[in-house]
């Protein structure tokens, strides 16, 4: 189970919260009940003591002690109610004392005697049975000024039993309630989050190839509907800007290329005319060359725009990158020969990648061409293709003069030239390496460079292997 999922976190939170609330609620009930029961026991005992004083002891001189004893036994039946009652005269002799209680929770003989003249008071004492004896003591003074110590008591066993029962009930009910709530909550969140999972599933399938697809419309009136609607609106905007880029590049293409075509045709026409002076002819040739460079720049810029917009990826197939590289090196060997530069290829493995073979060949060609350009005669360009750390690797290493350290971070930027004059002289547009980078990025890869004046320059391209599965493949549906 994913502990970071909304479902898990939501469940954990409300289960925890519910448990805390239930424990607090149980504690509150327990304390309230305990207070209430104790209070009512105390009330009963106080009432008994007062009744004995006011109803019986006030007339004890007329009725005699025996009558009082009989009345107490009859009215309060301390044995059956398990109450403790004691009436003591001022000299300390007992007028009445209840016998052993039925439940045997205390021994009447050991109960502390009351002191005369004290105001009515409560105290509790430990009973031999383990519970507590709640004892009410008061002094009754009759009309003749004779004082009696009246005590009424009872064990708190009853109260304990009720509270223990409550505790048992709560400890069974609480986990049960929390358990049911967690289970119910999980079902509930699963149902509530199901549309979210569906949305995520559909959204992840939408790529630049099928931007016109939308999430199915729902009318639940809840947050999910809002989310779906916002996502659909977002995709519409995305589609719009995507088409905008597409249209823009087509427009730019047209607007720049047509004048270039006219320029080129006019200059060619001029050169065909024979009456030009050598200076004019040179000027026209030079203008024609610059026009040619301008059109190459326009073409390559557009190509990059399209690569970055994710176009051109429809031609992606699975092919052996090492074999393609080997064949390309063979094709370019003659170009090297002309400059007395040896091309060496290394690679015996099959390196399967998913991509457009023509585009990726362009990467190999541009890197080798670049290496040949900047390596002095007699040098070597070593090309290798292999698999390392689950990636397809292409390395193009030359024995040239190397690239200045400070130029390396800018090497793949558009129009960056290490040695401007020389590279222009060689007919470069300043975009060759930027295109290499755009192509590599478009197919989920990277290109890096290492260079030192002593050992030359090494370009390294890393591409995802085909077997890495759909997730790492380029944005192709």
């Amino acid at each position: 189970m994913n502990v970071r999922s909304i479902r898990f976190r939501l469940g954990a939170w409300y289960a925890g919260l519910l448990a805390v609330l239930l424990v607090l609620f149980g504690g509150f009930i327990y304390i309230t009940l305990e207070t209430f029961l104790k209070k009512s026991l105390q009330d009963t005992l106080a009432k008994e003591a007062r009744t004995i004083g006011e109803a019986l002891l006030s007339k004890v001189r007329q009725t005699g002690d025996a009558y009082v004893v009989d009345e107490i036994e009859e009215h309060f039946a301390p044995r059956t109610t398990s109450h403790f009652l004691r009436v003591a005269r001022s000299d300390g002799s007992l007028l009445y004392q209840s016998g052993n209680p039925q439940d045997g929770t205390f021994d009447p003989l050991t109960v502390t005697k009351a002191t005369l003249g004290q105001p009515p008071s409560w105290h509790e004492e430990r009973a031999p049975s383990g519970g507590k004896l709640v004892l009410y003591s008061m002094t009754y003074t009759d009309s003749g000024g004779i004082q009696y110590a009246v005590q009424a008591g009872a064990s708190d066993n009853q109260i304990r039993r009720v509270l223990d029962q409550l505790l048992v009930s709560l400890s069974i009910a609480l986990p049960l309630i929390v358990g049911v709530a967690i289970g119910g909550g999980f079902l509930l969140t699963r149902n509530a989050l199901k549309p979210l999972r569906q949305i995520a599933g559909i959204a992840s399938k939408i790529t630049s190839r099928n931007l016109n697809e939308r999430l199915p419309d729902i009318h639940t009136g809840d947050e999910i509907e809002q989310l779906t609607a916002s996502l659909n609106r977002m995709m519409s905007r995305l589609e719009e800007s995507f088409h905008h880029v597409h249209r823009f590049s087509a427009d730019v293409a047209h607007e720049i290329r047509t004048p270039l075509a006219i320029l080129q045709a006019e200059l060619e026409g001029l050169l065909d005319a024979s009456e030009l002076s050598p200076e004019s002819r040179n000027a026209a040739v030079s203008a024609l060359e610059e026009g040619g460079r301008l059109s190459r720049i326009a073409e390559q810029l557009l190509e990059m725009t399209r690569l970055e917009a994710g176009e051109m990826l429809s031609a992606a197939t699975c092919f052996d990158f090492a074999e393609m590289t080997r064949a390309t090196v063979e094709q370019m060997r003659l170009i090297g020969d002309e400059k007395q530069i040896r091309l060496r290829f290394e690679g015996s493995q099959v390196v399967r990648v998913l991509g457009d073979p023509v585009r990726l060949r362009q990467v190999v060609v541009n890197l080798i061409d670049n290496a040949i350009k900047y390596t002095p005669a007699g040098g070597t360009v070593a090309i290798s293709s292999e698999i390392a750390r689950n990636k397809a690797i292409l390395e193009v290493a030359d024995t040239g003069v190397g690239i200045p350290h400070e130029a390396i971070p800018h090497l793949f930027e558009r129009f960056y030239r290490v040695d401007g004059a020389r590279s222009r002289q060689l007919g470069g547009t300043g975009l060759g390496l930027a295109i290499v980078k755009s192509i590599c990025t478009a197919f989920g890869g990277t290109v890096t460079v290492q260079s030192s004046p002593a050992s030359g320059t090494t370009f390294r391209v890393e591409l995802p292997l085909e077997s890495n599965g759909v997730n790492q493949s380029p944005r192709v549906s």
């Binding site: 047209h254 320029l263 429809s314 170009i335 002309e338």
Partner: protein, 224 residues
Amino acid sequence: MRLLLVEDEEKLARLVKRALTSERFSVDMALAGREGMDLANTYDYDLLILDLQLPELSGSEILRRVRRVNPNIPVLIVTARDAVSDKVAHFEAGADDYLTKPFAMAELLVRVKSLLRRGTARRENVLRVANLELDRLTQQVRRGGRIIDLTAKEYALLEYLMANTDRVLSRSMILDHVWDQGFRGATNIVDVYVRHLRNKIGDEDQKLIRTMRGVGYSIREETT
């Protein structure tokens, strides 16, 4: 030979027309889609040159309508759009060739001539130019009876040239046919291979492969 040129950029259209006319083609010119369509419906042309972005009626639409009535007329698309998807779409719709702006006029002429003589590419099993002989079945090349050892690409290049004997092939036509677009970045790969091929077939004494300045190459027997 009568050609129809539909191109909305008037200057460019006039330049193209002038170049074609100087090659003794007779050219009708239309600056808008509808006019082009009307002309195509009225006259019997040998070849159409279509721009894609046209007012009123797009070049793609003209191509589609023309193909419905005339499946055989060669059509050359001249456009500023060069996305691979555009090219594929138009070849599927029946375009015969595709030229991206800006282009060298010579390239356009080469392509027009190639389209007009399309049916006549040599199909014999053994191609001969002077004493150079290429056998398509055994893939053997001889000059004056001497066997010349060629790599696969050198052979493909020579075969393409010889199958189009006497015709001019532009560098980009050769690149597309013998290599692919991926080699565009390689400096003058076509020139390097041609130079190499010339050495191998011993082209010093009797020159067969000619350089057509600014355009490309052609193989032909020296008769003039």
